[in-house]
């Protein structure tokens, strides 16, 4: 996995350069590389499949508009997921409390929409299904930090920067969030 990422990173500067010139194929590469991860992030943050798809689209539209402002000082995916994080925060702010934390959210999604590559066993799928309501139970800052780490592969420092929170706070949020998830998931049904 790390090796694959370094190969992608090697070509990434060129892709970004082409994207800045509004090369459609460069944007296709960006979409192919990140749409699945962004979708996973939005889906697990909000629990709603269609809304997640809309937000993935919105991220890429914003990327097209703002890519001239992107400076290759940080990692591209950190920049991308910062856009995603801002979008999801806006969405959560606008949502009613009931919508945002619906523990049943995402439970009825079709199997094809669930995480891939985790085995075909029914038991495994049930485990993933069980995760969604527990994610929804987490405070949004903890859920966001956990999922930014998981789907965005952001460092604690990158999350701290974009959330304007101290590094220790971010670490604690991830720590608490993961501990709760494990505890809930491992408790008897």
């Amino acid at each position: 996995m790390r090796g694959e990422r370094s190969v992608i990173a090697h070509d990434w500067a060129e892709v970004i350069r082409r994207a800045k010139e509004l090369d459609a194929e460069a944007f296709d590469e960006i979409v192919d590389a990140y749409a699945g991860r962004l979708y996973g992030f939005f889906h697990r943050m909000l629990g709603r499949r269609e809304e997640a798809e809309d937000l993935v689209q919105e991220v890429f539209v914003r990327v097209v508009k703002s890519i001239p402002e992107y400076r290759e000082e940080g990692r591209f995916e950190a920049w991308l997921f910062r856009i995603a994080g801002n979008l999801v925060r806006d969405r959560l702010r606008r949502s009613t409390a009931g919508d945002a934390g619906d523990p049943q959210a995402g439970m009825s999604d079709p199997p094809s929409d669930r995480a891939k590559g985790v085995g075909d066993g029914l038991e495994r799928r049930e485990e993933i299904d069980r995760l969604q309501p527990f994610l929804a139970k987490l405070p949004s800052v903890e859920r966001e930090a956990v999922l930014m780490r998981h789907y965005g592969e952001l460092s604690f420092a990158e999350i701290a920067e974009y959330t304007a929170a101290p590094l220790g706070t971010v670490l604690s949020r991830v720590h608490r969030g993961l501990a709760k998830l494990r505890e809930w998931m491992e408790s008897p049904r």
């Binding site: 509004l22 459609a24 194929e25 944007f27 296709d28 979409v31 192919d32 749409a35 699945g36 991860r37 979708y39 996973g40 889906h43 697990r44 798809e53 993935v56 689209q57 890429f60 539209v61 097209v64 508009k65 094809s112 929409d113 669930r114 995480a115 891939k116 590559g117 985790v118 485990e127 993933i128 995760l131 956990v146 780490r149 998981h150 789907y151 592969e153 220790g168 670490l171 604690s172 991830v174 720590h175 993961l178 501990a179 998830l181 494990r182 998931m185």
Partner: protein, 180 residues
């Protein structure tokens, strides 16, 4: 081991557990996203090349004419990717023959527009009718624009998996439809 290190270790352990449970990438069909990106690229291209602040080439009058035309098209309900591509194609064809032909091209929009769009397009058309291109300055610039649009259409067509762009033959009434 201090508290922070212990936390880091537990987080590592927890993240491995989560990674084992849930892959980092979920399945999504990128086709719709790519279409939306194409539209955004077109809009961005327009903003870059036709804004009054664009660095080279076109006069403010030419840019203003095209932007107005697109605004009219937008207000008339011309939305969605196919619509946008069609706008480019029509403008590309129409601009080559300068203002008179542009008037013809936008005629159907004027007739098909909603009340708001109708008012705006009438205003646009009036402005064009009053415009005198005595030195053929606009004509030359519009020719340049046509070449740029032609290249652009081919890029968009390629993005759709088509060999080249063929201007669609549709009735004017189709333009009143909302969406794709």
């Amino acid at each position: 081991m201090n508290d922070s290190e212990r936390q880091r270790e537990e987080v590592d352990c927890g993240e491995q557990w989560l990674a084992g449970l849930c892959e980092r990438s979920a399945e999504i069909d990128p086709a719709r996203i790519k279409r939306a990106v194409r539209v955004a690229i077109e809009e961005q291209w327009l903003a870059r090349n036709l804004s009054p602040d664009a660095p080279a080439g076109l006069s403010r009058r030419a840019r203003h004419a095209v932007r107005e035309a697109l605004a009219v098209a937008s207000r008339a309900g011309v939305r969605g990717h196919r619509r946008v591509v069609r706008v480019w194609a029509w403008i590309g064809g129409g601009l080559a023959a300068a203002a008179a032909v542009v008037l013809t091209v936008f005629g159907p929009w004027r007739m098909a527009a909603t009340s708001d769009g109708d008012e705006a397009s009438t205003s646009f058309v009036s402005a064009f009718e009053e415009f005198k291109d005595e030195e053929e300055e606009l004509d030359q610039e519009l020719s340049q624009l046509r070449a740029a649009f032609s290249d652009f259409d081919q890029t968009v067509a390629k993005g759709w998996g088509e060999e080249s762009w063929e201007e669609p033959v549709e009735k004017a009434s189709d333009l009143t439809e909302d969406g794709v």
